[in-house]
């Protein structure tokens, strides 16, 4: 072996063995960390499912709660599901156009220095504690006017904005510059190029980002405690009044002394969890699909 320049093989073997051992150890540690991350998700999903599925039935989704009911009265959380739907829908309607416009400005029109600045602002906004946003909206819209679903939507919309803008910026950056040049070279104005050539390429990515943002805010509790938590038990669609939501309902039911309420809280948590998992998987699938489409356009 020494003829191949591997002189002192015996001496080096010890070191090699130690290196191998360290390598194995590090690999194992990394593997364990990865397994832990997966396990935590698994444990959460499993424990919620185990405790929630007893109460999971159609009544939970379609019936409204019966106040002060004791014992096994069949009652649901329809008001919370409808409220969440209304609030998240309005939040999306507010955050989506603003987020897309922010992304278009940053990626298509802004100077590089402004681009970095706005990007940083979006990251900071994304990192703001949700309770801070809750208090902000409370001071802005709730004080003097009372709670409303609209105020809740506004708070969730603030949370969604950086998520939508960031993901849209990412897909806009993927649109090849040659495509913009093709349009501009024809003598087409920039706004028209952006609207008709660039933006259609990014729809898949925008839908993906929005789906993820919806999944993220559908489970938000803190901002809604300030803005839409003093609610009745009836199903309501009017955004001018406060509406019950799933996360707030879970929070309130878990505070109740009645074990039946706890069971309902678990069931509602399970529904929320399944919704978020499905939305995330849908977003992933949409992302792969749109990336494939963009790749073909190159």
């Amino acid at each position: 072996m020494s003829s191949y320049g591997l002189g002192g093989v015996h001496q080096r073997n010890d070191r090699l063995a130690r290196r191998r051992a360290v390598n194995r150890l590090m690999e194992l540690a990394a593997w364990l960390a990865a397994a832990l991350a997966v396990a935590i998700l698994g444990i959460v999903v499993f424990s919620v499912a185990r405790r929630g599925y007893h109460q999971l039935n159609l009544d939970l989704l379609t019936k409204t709660p019966v106040p002060f009911a004791l014992g096994p009265v069949k009652q649901g959380l329809a008001n919370a599901f409808v409220g969440s739907l209304v609030i998240v829908a309005i939040a999306t309607a507010m955050a989506l156009p603003v987020g897309i416009l922010v992304a278009i400005y940053v990626n298509e029109f802004a100077r590089p220095s402004i681009r970095t600045g706005v990007g940083l602002a979006l990251d900071v906004l994304n990192g703001l504690p949700t309770i801070v946003i809750g208090i902000f909206v409370f001071g802005l819209l709730v004080v003097g006017r009372g709670q409303s679903a609209f105020a809740g939507s506004f708070a969730l919309g603030i949370l969604m904005l950086p998520l939508v803008a960031r993901s849209t910026i990412e897909v806009l950056a993927l649109v090849p510059a040659s495509l913009r040049e093709a349009s501009l070279g024809l003598g087409v104005p920039r706004w028209r190029t952006t609207l008709s050539i660039v933006l259609p390429q990014t729809i898949g990515g925008i839908v993906t980002g929005t789906t993820l943002a919806v999944a993220r805010v559908a489970g938000e509790t803190a901002p809604l405690l300030f803005t839409s938590s003093i609610v009745g038990n009836q199903v309501g669609w009017n955004p001018h009044s406060a509406l019950q939501t799933v996360p707030v309902a879970i929070f309130e039911l878990s505070e109740s002394p009645d074990p039946a309420d706890h069971a309902r809280a678990w069931a509602a948590a399970l529904v929320l969890l399944v919704f978020i998992l499905c939305a995330s998987l849908l977003a992933r699938w949409l992302a792969t699909r749109s990336r494939r489409k963009l790749g073909a356009a190159r």
């Binding site: 100077r111 590089p112 090849p176 040659s178 495509l179 913009r180 040049e181 093709a182 349009s183 501009l184 070279g185 024809l186 003598g187 087409v188 104005p189 920039r190 028209r192 008709s196 050539i197 390429q201 073909a296 356009a297």
Partner: protein, 281 residues
């Protein structure tokens, strides 16, 4: 059939002689054009005239600023941050560089075909028709599309599948589609930035033929690093080269600008001669 050995660069003998510059109409009058990216000069003090209904070729080694130059002619460089230029470019006597000039209007009359085919991810028909629609040329759309595709020598190949995606075409077909798209909106000048560099010889020939056929209606400026191509298609040829200054600065400069026959057979500058005979570059 006997075969003869072709010289490396053969100047087409079929070409019609270029009239004297005094008799030609000037499309571009470029004076002292200097272009800078940030603090890096790309081209310095270029002065030349581009004439109507001729094909003008820009040749030179990589990095000599050919593309920068041609992109100045329709304000395409405006999109690049930190790009600055000085000097004047007069288009039919009008300054097109000033901040008061709308670059969109400039690009409207001075079309461009890019190095890599860049069709829109739309149908073949819509690739040509979209620009027409956006620019308000909506009357007799079908005829306009057919005429543009015919002129770009693509009509016969695509007339049965106009609704198919443009991305399903071959590279050469895509580039001809891009040419059709550019000429459909009836520009005055067509700038071509190495239009055949990504294409095979047959597609290249088709594009060269097309320039030859269309130059009675348009003026072409073509950037190419392929000398044979310049010799085949161009009436006038400008040779750019890289100059170096102190501190390792490099920029592109116009060495010689003359009739193509002259550039390839009797260049005035020894640097041109070195380049076209293959001793350099």
């Amino acid at each position: 059939m006997s075969t003869t050995i072709e010289p490396a660069v053969r100047v087409e003998t079929r070409r019609q002689p270029v009239p004297a510059p005094e008799k030609l109409e000037r499309v571009f009058h470029i004076e002292d054009l200097t272009a800078v990216y940030g603090s890096k000069p790309a081209i310095k003090e270029i002065t030349l005239d581009v004439y109507k209904n001729l094909v003008t070729a820009i040749i030179g080694p990589s990095g000599c600023g050919k593309s920068t130059f041609i992109r100045c002619l329709n304000r395409m460089n405006d999109l690049i941050p930190h790009f600055r230029q000085s000097g004047t470019i007069r288009y039919h006597g009008h300054d097109i560089c000033g901040s008061a000039v709308d670059p969109v209007a400039v690009r409207r009359t001075i079309g461009m075909v890019f190095q890599r085919p860049n069709p829109f991810p739309k149908s073949i028909y819509d690739n040509v028709a979209w620009g027409l629609k956006v620019l308000g040329m909506k009357d007799s759309l079908d005829e306009r599309v057919e005429r543009a595709l015919t002129r770009a020598a693509l009509w016969d190949e695509v007339k049965d599948r106009l609704k198919a995606s443009a991305l399903s075409l071959s590279g050469g077909q895509q580039q001809r589609l891009c040419i059709a798209r550019a000429i459909a909106v009836e520009p005055d000048v067509v700038l071509m930035d190495e239009p055949a560099s990504a294409l095979d010889p047959i597609a290249t020939q088709a594009i060269e033929q097309l320039m030859h056929d269309l130059k009675s209606e348009y003026s072409f400026v073509i950037v190419t690093h392929n000398m044979q191509q310049a010799a085949r298609v161009a009436d006038m040829t400008a040779f750019f080269s890289i100059s170096t200054g102190g501190e390792g600065e490099r920029w592109g400069e116009l060495i010689e600008y003359d009739q193509t026959t002259k550039i390839f057979t009797a260049p005035a500058d020894s640097r041109t001669e070195d380049y076209v005979t293959g001793r350099f570059g």
